[in-house]
């Protein structure tokens, strides 16, 4: 038996934790001692319960935790447990080779912090410090009556204290507790403020429109948050809100301009692979969801859908998304379903963008013509939303079918397909709104011609896994690269070329869609105005097929305009959807 009274701990917790091990088995005693020493704990061993008690009484603050075997010759382990708990109030861990539930229960009932089964592993011993910490917190809580939250703060504080080489012993515990009082308040404040800070501004379509209007009025070069804020005349909006939004907007615009790589544009992300298979009818999934939009080809309806998409918050988009979801379901694979929720918002966006148009390009067989300028009417931004869903649905159908043919490079972008479709339908609705936006947007000439072509490129769904950022870029690039002359005959082929960089990257990020809804709504609209953008956007949209990503969308949705601006988003984080929405 060793009676080393530990000296104050000088290292960071839990190093130097003072452990008292009680076990009548000398072999185990030696093993445990070695194990605990390896954990950098200070170990004292004894093989008799009585001796352990005397050790503990001798120096009340000499130990942090007691580990005892249940079966002891001189005293029942549970009794020792009781004594220690009553007299010293130290955490006690029981050990035994017997793991019978009744025994374990007895241990817990007697106040054991833990019940370890022999043979004991090192890793189990490494974690025993948690019991010490927990006990301290509980003590603090009891004494001061803190609530759970405070307890957490305490825990934090205590942990910090340990890091600061503070010893968590009796007297120190008091100091810790005292500090808790102070910290408690601080922490509370912290919580409050932090929560307050987290309130985000949802940049609704309207709001964004106002913003853009203001920017245009002032002149993009001379623009400044204060000026914009004044012009916007939105009482609850702060200068900071505008500033951050402006920043995003600037990034967004610069991205649009930078996008010159046509290939990149095609992110389409249509999940050609599955959509076709799934969607039996020509409507390609959209029907169910899009069916509505389809019927609403009229401007009014579109605008409605457009509005939906413009939803400023995720929720509204979600509605749209539902529609899209349906589409997705048709086309996408089951796993996409998971991501449905997310994609929807994105879809909404996409559709607004110009989803209709995108559908065309989807057709792998050079059915682009559907998108050709003659279909301009479909382009919301070009004309009143006369989007003919039917037309669009057709392409979609093709798309699906064609997608199957798509090379493996296009990962299951089924969602994309769906998205595209939904997007298209949605876009038609949005055309009305888009138009408005278009007007507000200075740049982006109607790209009807380009649209069709561009769409083609979109066909190639990029693997959603690609970073969104990349995709977003591609959209922009695509816009720029869309060469009206691009042949639609080999859309697929072209798309394939395009996709890799553009689409996939954008779509991959998926996530942004959700956010886009909020932030980009305004932007989306803008994008819509850009023929190119729409196409791209739509295309990319489908990419958000990754279910996992979708779940993240909601949070992203709240990110102001992240989508558009932050291409650098980690694709894995954000659903692919963003790509489509991101109206480059």
């Amino acid at each position: 038996m060793e009676n080393g009274f530990s000296s104050p701990r000088s290292d960071a917790f839990p190093i130097g934790l003072r452990v008292l091990v009680v076990d009548d088995d000398p072999t185990w005693l030696k093993i445990l001692e070695k194990m605990l020493k390896k954990c950098s704990y200070e170990v004292t061993t004894c093989c008799l319960a009585r001796e352990a008690l005397s050790l503990l009484r001798e120096r009340k603050d000499g130990y942090d935790i007691v580990i005892s075997d249940v079966n002891m010759p001189d005293m029942d382990g549970f009794k020792l447990l009781e004594h220690v708990g009553l007299e010293m109030d130290l955490p006690v861990i029981m050990m035994s080779v017997d793991g019978e539930t009744s025994r374990v229960m007895k241990g817990v009932q007697h106040g054991a912090c833990d019940y370890l089964l022999k043979p004991i592993r090192m890793k189990e011993l490494r974690n025993i410090w948690q019991h010490v910490l927990r006990k301290k917190i509980q003590e603090g809580r009891d004494i001061e009556g803190h609530d759970v939250i405070e307890g957490i703060h305490i825990l934090r504080n205590v942990a910090d204290r340990y890091d600061d080489s503070q010893f968590l012993r009796g007297e120190e515990l008091f100091s810790v507790r005292k500090r808790k009082d102070i910290d408690k308040h601080e922490d509370k404040d912290f919580c409050d403020t932090s929560s307050a800070k987290k309130a985000r501004v949802v940049w609704s379509v309207d709001l964004h429109q106002k913003f853009v209007k203001a920017v245009n009025q002032i002149g993009f070069d001379k623009v400044g948050p204060k000026k914009i804020l004044d012009l916007m005349n939105v009482p609850w909006l702060t200068r900071e809100n505008v500033a951050s939004h402006l920043q995003k907007y600037r990034l967004y615009l610069s991205r649009l301009q930078k996008e010159n790589d046509p290939k990149a544009c095609f992110v389409v992300g249509m999940k050609h692979k599955d959509p076709c298979s799934k969607d039996g009818d020509g409507n390609f999934g959209l029907h169910s969801s899009l069916a509505v939009p389809q019927n609403d080809v009229t401007n009014s309806s579109f605008s409605f859908s457009g509005d939906n998409f413009l939803l400023q918050n995720v929720d509204s988009i979600g509605c749209e998304v539902d529609r899209k979801r349906v589409v997705q379901e048709h086309t996408s694979e089951p796993k996409r379903a998971a991501g449905r929720s997310v994609p929807e918002p994105i879809k909404a966006r996409c559709t607004q963008m110009k989803f209709n148009n995108t559908i065309h390009p989807v057709e792998p067989e050079g059915k682009f013509p559907a998108f050709d300028p003659s279909n301009r009417s479909c382009y919301p931004w070009v004309e009143a939303p006369e989007i003919k869903f039917k037309q669009e649905s057709k392409p979609i159908v093709h798309l699906e079918g064609d997608f199957n043919q798509f090379p493996p490079t296009v990962p299951p972008h089924q969602v994309q397909m769906d998205q595209l479709q939904s997007i298209s339908s949605i876009s038609s609705g949005r055309s009305a709104t888009e138009k408005d936006i278009a007007s507000s947007i200075e740049s982006k000439p109607p790209y009807s011609e380009n649209c069709s072509q561009q769409r083609v490129h979109l066909n190639l769904p990029k693997t959603p896994t690609d970073s969104f950022a990349g995709k977003a870029k591609s959209f922009n690039e695509m816009n720029d690269h869309f060469d009206p002359n691009s042949t639609t005959t080999t859309p697929l082929g072209k798309n394939q070329n395009f996709n890799p960089s553009c689409i996939s990257t954008d779509l991959g990020s998926g996530l942004p869609f959700a956010t886009i809804d909020e932030d980009l709504q305004g932007f989306l609209l803008q994008d819509c105005c850009y023929p190119k953008n729409l196409e791209h956007q739509i295309i990319e949209f489908p990419d958000y097929g990754d279910p996992g990503i979708f779940t993240e969308v909601p949070t992203h949705l709240h990110d102001a305009m992240r989508f558009g601006y932050d291409y650098s988003y980690d694709p894995t984080e954000y659903p692919v959807i963003d790509e489509g929405l991101f109206i480059a």
Partner: protein
């Protein structure tokens, strides 16, 4: 090199102890605990085990000779023995302990006796094997015991 050969031999013996179910994971844990501070930790532990458990064996034998058999006492002793055997990972010995406890619970003196004989056999077999193992380890060089495929 002779040492190399010895080491290889040692490794084979060690592996066979695991393969044949004489030792379990706990033995590996002990090997992991061995370090420069305790270069012969495993051997020390095993030695300690056999020293301590031999006393236990005697107690059990005495208890088994009593009649009528005190199953509670026997069970308690077996519990202790089992715990001890688990410390070095004596798998087969542990299994026999469990079996004996079952017979104690069932109140079968016959079963207890039989199982105890079996237990002693396993206990002795393992002891011999481990003794040979550590002897070879000493010959092969200090590194050996610490060498684990893990």
């Amino acid at each position: 090199m002779e040492k190399t050969q010895l080491r290889r031999q040692l490794a084979n013996i060690r592996q066979s102890l695991f393969d044949q179910g004489f030792l379990d994971e706990q033995f590996v844990q002990l090997e992991e605990l061995q370090d420069d501070a305790n270069p012969n930790f495993v051997e020390e532990i095993v030695t300690l085990y056999y020293r301590d458990s031999s006393r236990l064996i005697l107690s059990i034998e005495q208890a088994l000779q009593k009649s009528p058999l005190d199953f509670n006492k026997l069970d308690a002793l077996m519990h202790q023995f089992k715990g001890s055997s688990s410390s070095i990972g004596a798998k087969k010995v542990k299994a026999e302990c469990t079996q004996l406890r079952e017979y104690c619970k069932a109140g079968s003196g016959e079963g207890c006796m039989r199982t105890f004989q079996q237990l002693k056999k396993e206990y002795t077999t393992l002891r011999k094997k481990l003794e040979a193992y550590f002897q070879l380890a000493r010959q092969a060089g200090p590194i050996e015991s610490a060498c684990r495929p893990k």
